[in-house]
Assembly symmetry: D2
Homo-oligomer: 344 residues x 4
Amino acid sequence: MKVGIVGASGYGGLELIRLLQNHPEIEQIDLFTSSEVGTVFSQKYPHLVNIHDQPMKAIEPEHISKLDTVFFSTPAGVTTKLLPPLVGAGAKLIDLSGDFRLKDQGTFEHWYQKDAPPIEHLEKSVYGLPEWNKEDIADAEVIANPGCYPTAVLLSLLPLLKNKLIDGSQLIIDAKSGISGAGNKPSQATHFSETNENFSIYKIHQHQHIPEIEQAMNTFADQPDPIMFTTHLVPMTRGIMTTSYAKVNGQVTEEQLVNCLQETYKDSPFVRILTDVQKVSTKQVYGSNYCDIHVKVDPRTNQATIIAVIDNVVKGAAGQAIQNMNIQYDLNEKTGIDIIPLWI
Amino acid sequence: MKVGIVGASGYGGLELIRLLQNHPEIEQIDLFTSSEVGTVFSQKYPHLVNIHDQPMKAIEPEHISKLDTVFFSTPAGVTTKLLPPLVGAGAKLIDLSGDFRLKDQGTFEHWYQKDAPPIEHLEKSVYGLPEWNKEDIADAEVIANPGCYPTAVLLSLLPLLKNKLIDGSQLIIDAKSGISGAGNKPSQATHFSETNENFSIYKIHQHQHIPEIEQAMNTFADQPDPIMFTTHLVPMTRGIMTTSYAKVNGQVTEEQLVNCLQETYKDSPFVRILTDVQKVSTKQVYGSNYCDIHVKVDPRTNQATIIAVIDNVVKGAAGQAIQNMNIQYDLNEKTGIDIIPLWI
Amino acid sequence: MKVGIVGASGYGGLELIRLLQNHPEIEQIDLFTSSEVGTVFSQKYPHLVNIHDQPMKAIEPEHISKLDTVFFSTPAGVTTKLLPPLVGAGAKLIDLSGDFRLKDQGTFEHWYQKDAPPIEHLEKSVYGLPEWNKEDIADAEVIANPGCYPTAVLLSLLPLLKNKLIDGSQLIIDAKSGISGAGNKPSQATHFSETNENFSIYKIHQHQHIPEIEQAMNTFADQPDPIMFTTHLVPMTRGIMTTSYAKVNGQVTEEQLVNCLQETYKDSPFVRILTDVQKVSTKQVYGSNYCDIHVKVDPRTNQATIIAVIDNVVKGAAGQAIQNMNIQYDLNEKTGIDIIPLWI
Amino acid sequence: MKVGIVGASGYGGLELIRLLQNHPEIEQIDLFTSSEVGTVFSQKYPHLVNIHDQPMKAIEPEHISKLDTVFFSTPAGVTTKLLPPLVGAGAKLIDLSGDFRLKDQGTFEHWYQKDAPPIEHLEKSVYGLPEWNKEDIADAEVIANPGCYPTAVLLSLLPLLKNKLIDGSQLIIDAKSGISGAGNKPSQATHFSETNENFSIYKIHQHQHIPEIEQAMNTFADQPDPIMFTTHLVPMTRGIMTTSYAKVNGQVTEEQLVNCLQETYKDSPFVRILTDVQKVSTKQVYGSNYCDIHVKVDPRTNQATIIAVIDNVVKGAAGQAIQNMNIQYDLNEKTGIDIIPLWI
C-alpha cells in the first residue's frame, strides 16, 4: 500500500510516520506540504535521519489520488477546503482534524468559529471510532477521525449510557491532557518556562470537543442531554485522563458497570478494563494504542467515577487513524499498531 | 519570638524554615527530631548552608515549653501522642498533621486507620482556617492546621454554600496535586522515573481529607451532605488545583457568585477572586500564600465550575500555619508571608 | 527610592519586580514598555494581581531621569540605542542585556552580529560583578550586569586563576542551563513538547558569553587565553551549573584550591564554598542569590573539576542587578535579596 | 526462540520485555525472580495487562538451561554468583550488569567495592559492543553488555582514537543522564520532588564506568591513558548525552574527524553521524537503539567537541543486549529493535 500524509510536520503527522514506517503493509509514505516543498524531512526532524530522508511534495490532486490512503493532519479549517475535491478520485481519505466530525453545519460554525464543510460531504463522512462504528468505517471513503478527548470519554461512557446503567442527564467530565494536544506551533501557552511545573484549566465550558461528544452519545447511546466538560493542561507531553462522574441508575452495582464494560469490549484488542487497582495513570498506555478504563462506585454518594486513559497522539489521533485504515482494508485491526507501552 | 519545629526534615518543616527565617518577629528557630539529634541541619539540606547551621535537638518537654510557638510537621499519628503532654505548658501548639482536625474520634479512626487523640484535646483544638475562624484562632492554644486539599476546596466553596447560592447536596470535587503533597519519604509512587511524564488518580473515594471537608462545610456553612471527592497526582512538585462542580440554586447568576466571593474575602489579603480570565493555573500562586479563585456558570447545563489554586506547601501547610501564628500573636496576618509568587 | 524597569515583561523584568516589591528601600516601581502602554501589568501576568496593578508607561526620558535607578531587561541591541541619551540625566542605569559588557566594539559586533554601542559609553560602563568589582560599581553611572553563564564561571574560576593555582591556558567549561535563559518569547526551541524530557547542546563554540568570560578573566585574573565553552539546555525552568576542568599547577592540592576559594569569598555573603559533599545541585540555590561552589581534584589525572551553581534569573540576572544597586546606594549588599532557596 | 529474563522488574528488564515482545523470532519469554515467585507480572506493572500476564518463575538452573538465551538485568554483584553455574548448560547468557565487564579482578573490586567473579569466567566473557566486537560476540557464550555511559563514550571516541586523530592523553568527558539510569528502587536521589526541576553532579571522579571506558579504549584503540569523567543527573527519565573534549592531533581538520566517523560506521545501522546541525538532543533517539554522533572543532582553541546521544535504556542496555543476541543467532542485527524514535 502507498499512503500520503498532508500536514506531516504536526504531531499527528509525526506519529503517523512513526507508526506507518513499521506497518508491514505500507511500502511508500509520501509527505505533502503547502509551505516547505522540497525540504528533506529529516533535516527538519533529525530523529528521522536514515529513516525518512525524502523531500516533501506539493499537494497535487493527481498525485494524491493515486495513493491508497491519505491522512490529513492539519489545523481546523484546512480540510474543509482541501478534502472535497479529492473525494471520489481514488484514495481513501482519513481526516485527523475536526472539520468533518460534526454533522450539523451550524453547530460546527458555532464551536469552531469557521465555515463548515459542504453538507453533502459532512453527511457522507464516517465517524472513525472503531469500537463503535466498525461496519461503516469498513465502507467509508472519508473518515472523520475522533478527537483525543472524545475518544477517551466515549469509550468509557458509551457502554454504560447505552445500557442505561448511569444517568446521562447529569454527566460531569473532568479532562486532563498533556501539552502535545496543543500541537507543534509555539505559543505562550506552550512555552516551556510557563508550562513546566504548572497545571492549568483552559477553555472552561467552551471546548470544541463538547458537541462532538454529545453528538456521539446521541448517535451511539441515544443520550441527548448536554454534558458538563472541562479541560486541563498537565505539564507532560503525552497522555489524557478523563475522570467522569455520573449517578448510577436505580440499584445498579459496581459489578454491573464492570461487567458491562468487559462485555462490550471483549473483542476489542485496544480497550482494557482494569479491576482491583488503587491507581490508574496515563503512563500505562504511553506510546501505545490502548485505552484503559476503570470504574468505581462511591457508596457514600451512590455515584460512579469512570476513568479512562489514552495516549492522545496514538489512540487519540494517529494510532486510531491507522486502526481505521486497517479496518477499511480488511487487515487485522492491530496491524502495525500493536505497540507495547513505555512504562518508563 | 522563639519558635520550634518538630519534624523539620519533612516538606512542611522545610517550608516553615524558609518562611520563618525571614519573619521579622522571629529571633530563634529550634529544630527538633527523634532520630537525628545533633545533626547539623544544613549538612542534611545544603540549601541552608550559612542560613541554618544549628544541630537538631531532642524533643524535650521542658525545652519545648519555653518556646512561644511550636509547629508540628509530622506524619499522621505522631502528634496524637506527642502533643497532649505539652498542652498547657506554655507554648502555643500548631499541628500541621491531620491528627487534631476531626472532632469525632470514630470518624478519625475510620479514615486514618489509627487511634484517635483523647477526646478532650480534640474538643479544644481549633481548626486553623484563618479566613473562616479568625476569632477562635486568636484564642487557641492548639491549632489543627487544615489539610492542603481542604484549604482550596473550603475557601472556594464555603461562601457559595453558606449563602445558599449553589446546591450542596450534589457537590463533585476533582482535585489535582503536585507530588510534594506525598512528603519527603521515597516510594514507588514518588519515584521520578515513574512519576515524571505521568498523571494518575489515586485513593478514589478514599482520601482522608473527605471527612475534614465535610466537617468544615457543616460547621461553617451548615451543609451536611456527603461530597464526591477524587484526587490526582500531577508531575510537578508544588501546586494544587481543585475543580468543583455544583448546580446553582434557582435563578442565581454567575455575577452573584462572583460578588459573593468578592464580598466574603474583601478583607482577606491572601484570597484573590479572578474575573475575566480564560485560564487559571497553579503557577500563579507558586511559593506564595495566595489562594486564587475563579467561578464560571455553564449556561448549557446551569452548573457552576469553581476553581481554586494554592501552593500546597504554603497556603496548604506552612504559610497558613504562620498566618495562624500571626493571628494568635495579634500581628498583621501577612507578616513574614507576604511573598510574591514565582511565575517562572 | 523610586525605580523603573524597561522590559518588565521579560523574565529578568518579572524577577526584578518579584525582588524589588519586597525591597525595604523601594517605594515605587514604574514599568516601561514600547508596545503595551496602558496595559495593567497584572492583567498580563495574573500572579501579580493585587501586587502590581499599575498600567505600563511609555519610555519617556523626562520621566525616566527622575527615577533613582532604571533597570533595562531588554533583548540584545535595544540598550545600545536606548541608554546613551539617558546617561547623565540623573538616574543610575543598570543594563541586564549584553550590550555594554564587551569593551571592544569589534568583538561585540563579531559575537552579537549587531552594531556596538558608542565607544565612549562602552568605556564608562562598569562590569557589575560585585564580588570582584565593588569599588567601581559603587561609583558607576552605567552598570553592565553580567551574563548568567559568566557569573557562575567567573565566581568559581577567578580566584584559582588569579592565584595561579590552575592552568588557565587549557580551560574547558561545560555549562548547563534551564530553559528560562532563553527568555519569554515562544519558539520551537522552547516549545514544551520538544523541550520536556529532552537534553540538548546548542551554539557549540559560538555562545556570545565566551568573549565576556575571556574579557573578565583577563581583567580580573590576568588570564589571556581563549577558553573552550559549550552550553546545554536542561529540561527545567531555572538553574545553571557550570562544570569546569583545569590542570592544577605544580604540586597544588585540593586543599589549597578550597582554601583559596574560602579566603576570597570570606566577606561575600552570596558565595558559599561547599566541602565534603557527594553531590551538588542547582535546586540548592533555587530562587535565591547564592552561588555555590565546589572543587575536587582527580588524583588519577591531576586535574580539578570546579562546579558552580546559580539561579540564572536571580544571581544570573535580577538578583545581581539589585545587589549592584544596593552597592551603588551604599546599602547592605543583601537588602531585599536575602532570600532562602526553595529546596522543593 | 525461547528466552528468559532474570531481574525483569528492573528498568533493563522492563525494556527487554517491551522489545522482545515484538521480536519476530521470540516465541516465549520467561520471567525469573527470587522474591516474587508466582506474582502475575501485569499485576505489578499494569501497562502489560493483556500483554504479559504470566506469573514469574523461580530461578532454577534446569529450567533456565533449556532456554536459548537468558538476560540478566540485576544489580551489581548478583550475576557474580548467579551466572557461573549456568555457563555451559546450554543457554547463551547476556549480563546487563557490570559484573563481567572488567577483566581485572582488582580493578573490579576497587571500583565496585564487591567481590569479583572467578577469573576464568571473566576471561571468557565477551564485551558486547557490537560495532567494535562483532566477531567475538557471534561466538560468545557469556556476554558482558556494556554500561550506558561507556556505550555513548566509546562509540563516539574509539574511531578518532584508533585513527590517532585526537589526543587520547587529555580526554575530558562530561556525561549527563536521565534518572532511569538509577534504576527502579526508590531513594532520596530519585525522589520526584527533589529531582524534578533540578540538575546535579554526582560521583565526581568516582563512577564505576571509568575503568570500563579505559579498558575498552585500551583494547579497541590502543589508548592507555586515564580519562577525566564526570556524571550529571538531568530531570528527565530517559537519555544520555556525553560531551567529550579532546585536542586534535597535528593539522587534523573537522572534515577528517567527520569522515573517520562516517567511514567507521558505514555498515552500522544504529550509528548515525550528524552533520550541519546547530543542536543535538537526546530526544532524537528516544525509545530507539540509535546512537547519534556529532563532532565540531573549535578553531580558537584547536580542540574538538564530540557529542553522542543514546537512549540509556535501549542502546545503553536492553536494545544493545538484543542486538548482541541477534548477532549470536546470526539474525539481521536490527531484528526486533528497528524502532523509530519518539520525537514527542
